[in-house]
């Protein structure tokens, strides 16, 4: 019953929530491609605004998302610095033998903008799609690989079991952590060794529980005649509707028109 976790599905009935998971996966892929291809500021800003608009219209908590984005600020800053120092060009600041360049700063900023867009895009996908639907969507796209004798079904079974057990695992970790705190574990100790030992007291039982759970699950699956089979009920639950076609059309236009224009405008 902890607080909200980043990327966790949030119940809602907005248009984005109701889209077919396949639509959302395709749209996201297209958005990722266009973000990767384009280096046009206007186009990237347009995409950023679009993401914010989608977040607001699907009634996700924008403030919460921005706040969590702030948490990866170090990562973004390092990206910027690396780019700024490693790109050759007109120097603006020199430290010792290396210098920060104007071109590097621009490229770095563009990359940060890209990362933010990708971050938001993946959050929209995760927070508006139930894990179930998401894995069904992925399973659908992987189906052709099955024809090449790839063990697609086993892969998707693993995926669906992990979706099933991630929440249980989180709950369990919280309980074990609290139980060890009750015996005096110091998770916030300033001494690194004490901290490591405390976390070991959580990780070891969690690992043990997972092993025994895996054994139990294996039995449960075996006793219900588990064989590799495509999941019919699940596959048949997917339905493309009018709004999916519209969404796909909209995103395709943005990508197909936007990318060439942004390249031409350069």
């Amino acid at each position: 019953m902890g607080g909200m976790k980043l990327g966790q599905y949030i119940y809602g009935d907005s248009m984005v929530h109701k889209l077919d998971p396949r639509t959302k996966i395709i749209c996201c892929t297209l958005a990722v491609i266009s973000v990767m291809v384009s280096i046009n500021w206007y186009y990237l800003f347009f995409l950023l605004l679009l993401m914010v608009a989608i977040i607001i219209s699907s009634r996700l908590n924008l403030k919460f998302i921005l706040k969590s984005m702030y948490q990866i600020k170090t990562f973004l800053l390092i990206t910027l610095l690396f780019q700024a120092f490693l790109t050759p060009g007109q120097a603006v600041l020199t430290i010792g033998t290396i210098s920060m360049t104007r071109e590097g700063l621009i490229l770095g900023s563009i990359n940060i903008l890209r990362l933010i867009i990708l971050f938001m895009c993946s959050l929209i996908l995760l927070m508006t799609t139930t894990p179930m639907k998401l894995s069904t969507g992925i399973e659908y796209f992987l189906q052709p690989l099955g024809k090449l004798n790839m063990p697609v079904h086993n892969f998707t079974t693993i995926l669906s079991i992990s979706f099933r057990f991630l929440p249980t695992l989180f709950e369990e970790a919280t309980i074990i952590k609290n139980a060890q705190k009750s015996r005096g574990s110091e998770f916030d100790s300033p001494q690194l060794m004490v901290k490591i030992k405390s976390y070991a007291a959580v990780v070891i039982p969690l690992f043990e529980a997972s092993l025994s759970r895996a054994a139990d699950l294996g039995e449960a699956m075996d006793s219900r005649c588990y064989t590799s089979h495509p999941n019919q009920l699940r596959m048949n639950s997917l339905k493309m509707k009018g709004q999916d076609v519209l969404a796909l059309l909209f995103v395709s236009v943005i990508v197909l028109a936007g990318v060439p224009i942004s390249i031409l405008m350069k």
Binding site: M1, G2, G3, F64, I175, A179, R183, E186, P205, E208
Partner: protein, 292 residues
């Protein structure tokens, strides 16, 4: 004199301000005296776990006050050490075992108390004895080699070795067979003899009928009953509303009373229930022989 646990106007809300906001506790007032046993009942999700986590400092009060052994639980500096006073054993504690030997597992708490190793050793063996693990060498076995019931004992010993003033148990009997249940009852009875305080979450009145002094019932975060077992048994509306798992002898006499028979209901064993039924039969026969 204030009790060893004093809870007043306690509220708690999870995930405040998010779509998942849950009001887990609403205006709870409860006190437990030194040496008492409190049985905590309530359906799943009624707030029992949230309440007991307030007692050992895992959750600090958002609103209202909690005082445990005279310590204000809302003080962040003091509540950090509350675990030394109030030992909380979670449900299925055997799932939290992580050391390579039974000895180290039980010694984990006392070592965190920074006690000298000699004292730790004393406490470990005392705790193992309390949970009935008296076989030689057991202290040096790896816990994985023990059965589930034995591991539960080890885990409980791990808490007893801290020697907390208050012991809090979250459904310690779940999944245990009768031998295991009796072991838990023994631990509690010994604590009662030593005038030590125990709080236990339970689903079954039958389980704790013989040891409990006081019962508190939580439902949807509200305290709906708080008092003696005797008073609870006199409240048929409360008994009917919650599935208490009454002892069979009470189920039987209540059924007879429901059907309009004049039968004694304050009994304490199945034997007495049988005697009451036989008495009832004889009385009715007498009536039949002499209808006047």
């Amino acid at each position: 004199m204030p009790g060893v646990i004093e809870i007043d106007h306690l509220f708690h809300t999870y995930a405040k301000g998010s779509p998942y906001e849950v009001e887990a506790l609403k205006d709870i007032a409860l006190s437990v005296d030194q040496g008492e046993f409190l049985g905590l009942f309530g359906p799943n999700g009624s707030g029992k776990s949230t309440l007991i986590q307030h007692l050992n400092g895992l959750i600090r009060p958002q609103k209202g006050s909690v005082t445990v052994c005279g310590i204000d639980a809302s003080n962040p500096k003091l509540s950090r050490d509350l675990w030394k006073n109030a030992g909380l054993v979670f449900q299925y504690p055997e799932h939290q075992i992580f050391q390579i030997s039974v000895y180290d597992e039980v010694a984990y708490g006392p070592r965190n108390l920074k006690l000298p190793e000699a004292t730790v050793k004393e406490r470990v063996y005392e705790a193992l004895q309390q949970v009935g693990l008296i076989q030689e060498n057991i202290a040096h076995l790896p816990p994985v080699t023990l059965s589930g019931g034995m591991r539960r004992r080890v885990a409980i010993a791990g808490m007893l070795a801290i020697q907390p003033e208050i012991l809090i148990l979250d459904e310690p009997m779940a999944g245990l067979d009768s031998a295991g249940r009796n072991m838990i009852l023994d631990i509690i009875k010994k604590r009662q003899e030593k005038h030590e305080t125990t709080v236990m979450i339970s689903h079954s009145l039958k389980e704790i009928m013989t040891i409990t002094d006081k019962i508190a019932i939580l439902d949807s975060g509200c305290l709906v009953f708080n008092g003696k077992v005797k008073d609870l048994l006199n409240k048929p509306e409360v008994l009917a509303q919650y599935p208490f798992d009454l002892p069979e002898y009470l189920q039987i006499v209540y059924e007879f009373a429901d059907k309009g028979f004049d039968i004694k209901t304050n009994i304490s064993s199945i034997r007495e229930a049988g005697e009451e039924i036989i008495k009832l039969q004889k009385e009715l026969e007498q009536l039949r022989i002499s209808p006047a």
